[in-house]
């Protein structure tokens, strides 16, 4: 038992080093195998938006704040796409019990996102998601640059602001390179 605890401490030490130095920048979206709404196997390394930013949103049909968040974004999604070219990818963590509800549920809401299923939580674990909703902003290089847990009405503003920042940084970087 004591030994285990020492191991735990060691890990926490390494972790704190990491936190001191770490920024999200540079971390690629991890590879995991998920499914499309029609049941085909899909690898997360194939997420793409032609070099423009993406949002990955973990949700479930039984998660109220998740639905509120996706509804709130739905109202502004056309404007968001026009302004930033962003694409929103939803990953449902509904399991076998409610998984078949996902496709009719999405259509019943009229949402126009790109949708996937993660029924046994493999991608959820790879992305270190504790609970939904959990949103990630991905830059043009496929790197995770921002993330947020939970939703309260109005916090979608923070999300689109993070997307705008990605574009600003990318613009600045390309100007610098030129």
């Amino acid at each position: 038992m004591k030994k285990t605890f020492q191991q735990g401490l060691l890990i926490i030490f390494c972790l704190s080093l990491n936190v001191l130095y770490a920024q999200d920048a540079g971390r690629k979206v991890p590879t995991a195998s998920i499914k499309t709404l029609t049941g085909e196997v899909f690898s997360t390394e194939n997420f793409s938006n032609d070099g423009k930013p993406m949002i990955i949103d973990f949700w479930a049909t039984w998660c109220k704040p998740c639905i509120e968040e996706l509804n709130a974004i739905h109202e502004e999604y056309v404007d968001w796409k026009e302004e930033t070219g962003v694409k929103l990818i939803t990953v449902s963590i509904d399991d076998a019990r409610t998984m078949t509800r996902v496709a009719p549920f999405i259509n019943g809401k009229g949402w126009e996102y790109e949708n996937y299923l993660d029924p046994n939580g493999d991608f959820k674990r790879a992305m270190n998601v504790n609970m939904p909703p959990h949103t990630f902003v991905i830059n043009g290089k496929g790197e995770i640059v921002w993330q947020h847990v939970g939703f309260t009405e109005g916090s979608q503003e923070e999300l689109i602001e993070a997307v705008r920042n990605v574009l600003k940084e990318e613009k600045a970087a390309s100007e610098k390179a030129n």
Partner: protein
């Protein structure tokens, strides 16, 4: 052995991350953690006991290192001591989950702990639900391989996690999934898509019973098919298990079966879904004497809606592995803005009906024939039993009324067979009507108010309840909420109790901290149709989560 492996994983993690951290500005290690701590007060009115430790806590932290095709990870867990409602066998701390993984796209090899699901899980599903204390991860080897485009083969061998150790029983399993359209070029552009799958699972557990001659190797097989065409979809899975006498089925030698069917149609603005299932003696664990939710190999999904409002979830359903027939139908509509039903901002409507009842069982009489193998009962595949376990009819409407005001309405009729679902004799059957009104009001872009008013009307069990919730949120960081569940209709006047709680929460990026104080009623807490009993409590609850 296990310790050596953990040390090896640790060594690799530490030796790789330390120089990496110094060398570059990006973190090569990621993970998440959660800590829940509860401080208890005795409250004899609601039946909350004295907790000698006063403070109990559950916590875990995941760490994962990824470099190229290689990854390694572990989870440290501690239950000091387990929060009330969690299995007391969790007591203590340790690293029950750790793995090394190699993945080059076509081939993935995992050594150590892993989670897995075949098909819909009715034959094998290893998963975790931390809020329930549910974790049946397998410790061993797993290989996934894509031999040709469209075909995925999986094979695994290992022992399941049982709290801080592993089970005695061994699990061996293989699965094959074939996406026909993907592997046949001639069908690539076809509108209709077909996916086929098959799996086999076998468990081994030594027979040490002095009386019974128990099967040591128990095999189970399953086949599945799924079709998509335009907006139409259909899928089916059937599983069969040979005789597997266990504590859960009363040590009968009958074989087990499960059938799961789903079909429906969906297009933009509309969805229809119909599901049916039949379960017969399909409890499957890697230890025949395991209890509670421990060491389940398979997962039998409940075919009922997963409600989120507290009174709608007061009587939740859980699948009866020894036998049930279930049906569910659901319709989803999105009325566009500008239409008669949609109004200015559009309206969402869903109607759902589900029912679960007994399968027909004719008991086999073995009295007077002591040498006969006890098969327990016979059951006609399409014959239903009379006893209803659960029935739920509900309508939900979601509507934006103005730029500032949103509304959500729920009506639900419920029939809940408490004795069967909670596995206790002589409990009442509950018939209830439930209504919920939720309103959200936007003060401005950051300040929001939300209220929920629930009412549950019933003459049974603890009779009627009312709920009021008030929440104020200041986006994107703060919220504060007050919640009162009032059992005003209880026939026992002394039990007409207000269960009041207050919660404050702060979220910044992926860090979230909530602090609550109040009374928690005794009840059942469920995620995905698996439930745990939560005892009554009174006190402070703090929860911290983070991911990095």
């Amino acid at each position: 052995m296990k310790r050596t492996f953990t040390q090896a994983v640790l060594f690799i993690l530490i030796s790789t991350i330390t120089p990496a951290v110094v060398a570059q500005n990006t973190s090569p290690i990621h993970g998440n953690f959660q800590l829940d701590a509860q401080y208890y007060f005795k409250d004899s009115l609601i039946g909350a006991p004295e907790v000698p430790q006063k403070l109990l806590s559950n916590g875990f932290a995941n760490f994962e290192y990824v470099k190229g095709d290689f990854s390694a990870g572990l989870r440290y867990e501690s239950y000091l001591d387990p929060i009330l409602g969690y299995d007391s066998r969790y007591q203590g701390s340790g690293i029950p989950y750790r793995y090394l993984k190699y993945n080059n796209g076509d081939l993935e090899v995992t050594a150590g702990s892993f989670y897995e699901q075949f098909g819909s899980g009715i034959i094998l599903r290893a998963y975790e639900e931390r809020g329930l204390g549910y974790d049946n991860a397998i410790d061993g080897f797993r290989v996934k391989y894509i031999p040709v485009r469209g075909v995925t083969v999986k094979g695994l061998i290992g022992r399941q996690r049982s709290f801080f150790s592993t089970a005695e029983g061994l699990v061996r399993a293989a699965d094959l999934e074939w996406n026909i359209n993907e592997s046949c070029d001639s069908m690539a552009g076809n509108k209709t898509q077909w996916i086929l799958g098959g799996s086999f699972v076998s468990k081994y557990q030594k027979d040490q019973d002095p009386v019974f001659n128990l099967p040591e190797n128990v095999g189970a097989g399953a086949g599945r098919i799924s079709m998509n065409s335009g907006g139409w979809f259909a899928n089916a899975e059937y599983a069969y298990k040979i005789n597997d006498p266990s504590g859960g089925n009363g040590y009968i030698y009958k074989d087990g079966q499960a059938l799961l069917l789903n079909f429906g149609y969906t297009k933009k603005g509309f969805g229809a879904l119909f599901g049916a299932k039949r379960i017969d003696n399909m409890g499957f664990r890697s230890d025949r004497d395991a209890t509670g939710t421990n060491l389940m190999i398979n997962y039998l999904p409940a075919l009922t809606k997963n409600h989120t409002y507290s009174l709608a979830a007061l009587y939740p359903y859980a699948t009866q592995p020894n036998g049930e027939v279930g049906l569910q139908g659901e319709l989803f509509f999105n009325f566009k803005s500008g239409s008669t039903l949609g109004g200015k901002y559009g309206t969402d409507l869903s109607v759902n009906y589900s029912r679960a009842q007994a399968i027909e069982k004719t008991l086999i009489d073995t009295v007077g024939n002591p040498d006969a193998i006890d098969l327990g009962y016979t059951s006609g595949f399409l014959k239903f039993g009379k006893e209803v376990y659960f029935e739920d009819f509900n309508i939900e409407i979601n509507k934006k009324l103005s730029k500032k005001l949103r509304m959500h309405l729920l009506y639900m009729y419920l029939h809940y067979n408490k004795s069967v679902v909670e596995g206790r004799s002589s409990e009442p059957t509950v018939y209830a009507h439930i209504g919920v009104l939720e309103l959200g009001y936007k003060l401005n872009s950051k300040n929001n108010l939300r209220t929920e008013i629930h009412h549950l009307y019933t003459k049974h069990d603890k009779q009627s309840w009312a709920v009021l919730l008030l929440e104020y949120s200041l986006a994107p960081h703060w919220f504060i909420a007050g919640f009162d569940q009032y059992n005003y209709g209880n026939n026992d006047v002394d039990q007409r109790i207000h269960y009041i709680t207050g919660t404050v929460g702060y979220t910044r990026k992926t860090n979230r901290i909530t602090l609550g104080y109040g009374r928690q009623r005794a009840g059942i807490f469920c995620v995905g149709g698996v439930c745990r009993t939560v005892p009554a409590s009174n006190g402070f609850l703090m929860s911290i989560t983070s991911s990095f």
